[in-house]
Symmetry: C2
Subunit: 206 residues, 2 copies
């Protein structure tokens, strides 16, 4: 079961979303064909993706919707909730801290940090913004496993080091700066401007 393509994992998460819609609409089974159409891929791709983890379907019938959804939740580690911290209470940071899509998928934002005294203490979605100098201690005491970095580039590495020192196991980085973390910490980068730049490339070449 080792060596699963990244792209496969992304698609599994997409399939899960569709399965939950199907679940809600009461459908009992679904074919690789149907999943492929909704997910913008091919039936063979869907079957191959699933085959990395076992055989969950019935030949001639398809996949039992609730069962496959359950399996995918297990595979993706979404059968539990995660405690998450957001560092950076600027516009994007506060928006993420309040983004309904996160708790809906099992990610609870339990702390938000900033360095700016004007922001520290302000209420935000139930909690309040905490001083960035307390990151390490709060991450430890609140048992936070995931950190989201949304600071300016210049501060990103420093807050990352504190998150790591506090014991987070994964970091999602929105800052436009390359971060260094120990190999035990999982790192994913999202760069909003980069998305527009690849669009611009496509516009320029047609």
């Amino acid at each position: 079961m080792r060596k699963v393509p990244d792209s496969t994992v992304r698609r599994l998460a997409i399939y899960l979303h569709f399965l939950e819609e199907f679940e809600a609409s009461g459908a009992a089974t679904v074919s690789s064909q149907a999943l492929a159409r909704r997910g913008g891929t091919t039936a063979a791709q869907v079957r191959k993706d699933l085959s990395f983890f076992g055989s969950f379907g019935k030949r001639g019938l398809g996949y039992a919707v609730p069962e496959l959804a359950g399996r995918l939740r297990l595979i993706l580690g979404l059968d539990r909730r995660y405690r998450v911290a957001v560092v950076g209470a600027g516009r994007v940071g506060s928006a993420l801290a309040q983004y309904a899509g996160f708790p809906a998928r099992g990610f609870d934002i339990v702390a938000v940090f900033d360095r700016d005294p004007a922001k520290i203490g302000q209420p935000l979605d139930g909690g309040r913004v905490r001083d960035a100098s307390t990151i390490e201690q709060v991450v430890r005491s609140e048992q936070i496993e995931i950190g989201i970095v949304v600071t300016p580039a210049a501060a990103a590495q420093e807050v990352t080091d504190r998150l790591v020192a506090g014991g987070v196991r994964a970091i999602l980085n929105f800052a436009p700066a390359p971060l260094v973390v120990p190999s035990r910490v999982e790192l994913r980068n999202v760069n909003l401007a980069l998305e527009l730049e690849t669009l611009s490339y496509a516009l320029a070449h047609r």
Copy 2:
């Protein structure tokens, strides 16, 4: 010109960021090695990426920083500015509308739309939120080329259709819904929850 991998385009945009840092610090030349280290890839990869578009370096020396930056701007279509509309003035939408990283890279947010009467007319970063029913007309009159969709899933296709009718050439979709657009319109999807879900997969498998 041959078929250029998507991943290559992304990396070119990353190289450009670093080149601009080097430019600011006054360095005259840079090696593929140095670019690779900053960009988290290999020297061979950097050279291969660039080779899709020509030979910009000098053997034994490296690349002239300002020249290579200029070439990359041309390749990526970043030698001009783009007029962009944001649809959806919720938390994430307003944050994106005011995100400094966009104008810094040549993308000017010239209109923001929402359907909610409570939001329409409210000031936002110089302009004011406009009624979503005017999308088509405003996109046309304001010569908007790129639309960013940040609505709930249920409204995403409808606003997309209006953006397309108005004549946008590209759409960046943050809504957790698959969009259908004519093939002449370039489409890119960003799903924030998906990023955490792939992190969760990594956490569950180690």
